[in-house]
C-alpha cells in the first residue's frame, strides 16, 4: 500500500477509474458529483485518455455504448435526474451485453428535487430503470476506502460478465474526505474482447453489436442467455457485511452512509442492553438474500433504515419471507435520520416484541 491520502469521495472514484485502466469518460455535469468530471478532465490529457463533456446525459450514455462496443474500459457519472435520462441507453447496453461502469451519486427527488443525500434511486437501480428484463450489478460503498476498492472492482466485474455495473453513493460519500490508501498497482483482469467492433482488417468475420432482434426465437434465446448469466452473478458476486448479528435482539439493514449511522446507534443501544446487529448489503443487486435467510430467525424483528420512503425493505421482506416482522424507518427530501431517531425506533420495536 502507498501513502495515506485525505481525499474527497468523488475524486477517489475518478482516481480509482484511472488506476483500473479507464481511458474513456463521457458525462454531463450535475451536483453533487461534478468533481468526478473535474478530476478526470484534469488528468486524462497527460495519460492519453478521452474525456468529452457531452451535450446531454443521453448523448453521454450513448458515447459509453460506442466506446464499450469497441472494447474500451469506459465510465460515465451523474446524479439522479441525469441517471433517469440515461435509462434508455442502459437498457441498450444490457441488450447488447456491453461492459460499462456508471456512477450515480444519488440526490433527492422526485423530479429535479434537491441536491442533498438520498437513496431514492434504489428501485431504479436494482429493479431495472429502463425497459425490458435486465439487471445491472449495483455496488453501494460506505467509506472512501471502499469506494476506491469497489470502483476498481466494478471494471473487473463489468468485463467479466459483459454487464453494466453501477456504483451508487450519495452526496455525503461524494463530498466527504476520509483517509484512502491506494495499492501500488491494481489487479486488472484481462478480459477476452474478441467480440469488440474494432475493424476486421479483412482478416475475420464482422463482429456485430446490437440489441435489436426481430425474430422472437432469437430474442428469447438472448433473454435466456442473459438470465442464465444473472443467475451465475447471483451465485458468485454477492458482497455483504454482517456486524454483531449473532444473538441480536433486532437486526437492522442499511446500506451506504446510512449503515455508518447505524453502527453508532448499535453502540448506543448496547448501553441500554439491546443487542442490535447490522446486515449491510454491499451489492444491492445481487442482493444478499442468503445472509438474511441465515439470520431470519435470530432477532425478534428486522428494521430497514433508508434515505427513502421504503425501497430496500421490500427485498428484506422477500428474503425474510414472513419469518419475522420487518419494520421500516426512513427520511426523504435530503433529511438524514439522527442517531436518536433510529434508536427511538429500535426501542419501540424492542418494547413491542417482548
Amino acid at each position: 500500500m502507498g501513502e495515506k491520502l485525505l481525499m474527497k469521495g468523488n475524486e477517489v472514484i475518478a482516481e480509482a477509474a484511472i488506476r483500473a485502466g479507464c481511458r474513456y469518460y463521457f458525462g454531463y455535469p450535475i451536483t453533487p458529483q461534478t468533481e468526478i468530471m473535474h478530476y478526470i478532465a484534469k488528468k486524462f490529457p497527460s495519460i492519453g485518455g478521452t474525456f468529452i463533456q457531452a451535450e446531454s446525459e443521453v448523448a453521454a450514455i450513448n458515447m459509453v455504448y460506442g466506446a464499450a462496443a469497441a472494447g474500451a474500459r469506459v465510465m460515465t457519472s451523474s446524479s439522479s435526474p441525469g441517471i433517469s435520462l440515461k435509462q434508455e441507453g442502459l437498457s441498450y447496453i444490457a441488450g447488447a451485453e456491453l461492459p460499462a461502469v456508471i456512477v450515480n451519486i444519488v440526490r433527492c427527488g422526485p423530479g429535479l428535487g434537491g441536491i442533498l443525500p438520498s437513496q431514492g434511486d434504489y428501485f431504479q437501480a436494482v429493479k431495472g430503470g429502463g425497459h425490458g428484463d435486465y439487471k445491472m450489478v449495483v455496488l453501494a460503498p460506505s467509506s472512501i476506502q471502499e469506494l476506491y476498492e469497489l470502483t476498481v472492482e466494478a471494471f473487473n466485474i463489468a468485463d467479466r460478465y459483459r454487464i453494466a455495473v453501477m456504483i451508487m453513493g450519495d452526496g455525503t460519500l461524494g463530498q466527504m474526505m476520509e483517509t484512502v490508501e491506494f495499492r501500488d498497482r491494481e489487479e486488472i483482469e484481462e478480459a477476452d474482447k474478441s467480440w469488440a467492433v474494432t475493424g476486421t482488417r479483412m482478416e475475420r468475420e464482422h463482429n456485430v453489436i446490437t440489441s435489436i432482434y426481430i425474430d422472437p426465437e432469437v430474442l428469447e434465446d438472448l433473454n435466456n442467455r442473459l438470465q442464465a448469466k444473472y443467475r451465475i452473478i447471483e451465485q458468485r458476486e454477492v458482497r455483504v457485511e454482517t456486524y454483531n448479528c449473532d444473538g441480536a435482539d433486532i437486526i437492522v439493514s442499511a446500506f451506504g452512509t446510512v449503515a455508518r449511522i447505524v453502527k453508532n446507534v448499535i453502540r448506543m443501544a448496547e448501553k441500554e442492553g439491546i443487542r442490535v446487529g447490522l446486515i449491510r448489503p454491499i451489492t444491492l443487486w445481487p442482493f444478499p438474500t442468503e445472509t438474511f435467510r441465515k439470520y431470519a430467525e435470530v432477532p425478534a424483528a428486522f428494521l430497514s433504515v433508508e434515505l427513502n420512503a421504503g425501497q430496500m425493505v421490500e427485498d428484506v421482506r422477500l428474503a425474510v419471507n414472513g419469518k419475522r416482522e420487518v419494520y421500516f424507518y426512513g427520511r426523504t427530501g435530503g433529511m438524514i435520520p439522527t442517531q436518536k431517531e433510529i434508536l427511538d425506533k429500535i426501542r419501540e420495536i424492542y418494547k413491542n416484541s417482548r
Partner: protein, 176 residues
C-alpha cells in the same frame, strides 16, 4: 478518544479549509479522520460549515448530531450550532465578528478577536488559523508539528511562502 468538531461561518473565511487542515493533521498522527462539508443550498446564501472527526477508533457516521468542539465565525452560526455542543465541550468564537458570546454555562468558552488579530498581522485570511491555534491549545487534539506539516501538504505550493506567517498566527491563537 474521539474529537467531534464543527466549524461554521461565512463562505470565504476559510471554514472548509480549516476543517481539512485539522483532519489532515489528525491523519498524520495515524488517527481515523473524516471531513464533511456543507454542500447544500445554504452555501448559496453565504454560510459554510464542516464536520470533522478525529478518533482513535474507526469513524462511524461522518455526520455529527452533536460535537465536542465548535468554532464559529459569525453570529448565525453560533445560534445554529450552540446547542449541539456536549456539556463540558468547547466553544470558540471570533469575537471580532460575534460580539454577543454564547449563552451556554456548561461549556468552556473562548472568545478570540481573531479577525482583528489577523488584520493587525496584515492578512485577514489568518483568522481561521488563529482560531485553530486556540482549539489545538485547548484540546491538544493534534500536535503543532502535525499542523505545520498539514499546511505544507494541503496548501498549493505557490502559498508555501506564507506558512511561516500562518504558524505565527497559529501560535498567537494558542497563546491568546
Amino acid at each position: 478518544m474521539q474529537h467531534e468538531i464543527i466549524i461554521a461561518g461565512f463562505g470565504g473565511q476559510g471554514i472548509l479549509s480549516a476543517g481539512r487542515l485539522l483532519a489532515y493533521a489528525g491523519m498524520l498522527e495515524n488517527k481515523n479522520v473524516s471531513w464533511l462539508p456543507s454542500y447544500g443550498p445554504e452555501m448559496r446564501g453565504g454560510t459554510a460549515n464542516c464536520h470533522v472527526i478525529i478518533s482513535d477508533e474507526a469513524v462511524g457516521s461522518p455526520i455529527l448530531n452533536s460535537c465536542t468542539s465548535l468554532i464559529v465565525m459569525n453570529g448565525p452560526s453560533l445560534e445554529k450550532f450552540e446547542n449541539m455542543v456536549v456539556p463540558g465541550g468547547i466553544i470558540i468564537t471570533d469575537k471580532s465578528l460575534v460580539p454577543e458570546g454564547p449563552q451556554r454555562k456548561d461549556v468552556d468558552v473562548f472568545e478570540v478577536p481573531a479577525t482583528q488579530m489577523a488584520s493587525d498581522m496584515g492578512n485577514l485570511t489568518f483568522a481561521n488559523i488563529i482560531l485553530l491555534g486556540k482549539l489545538v491549545a485547548a484540546t491538544g487534539m493534534v500536535s503543532v508539528e502535525s499542523f505545520e506539516t498539514a499546511l505544507y501538504k494541503v496548501l498549493p505550493e505557490k502559498y508555501h511562502h506564507l506558512i511561516p506567517n500562518e504558524m505565527e498566527a497559529f501560535r498567537k491563537g494558542m497563546e491568546y
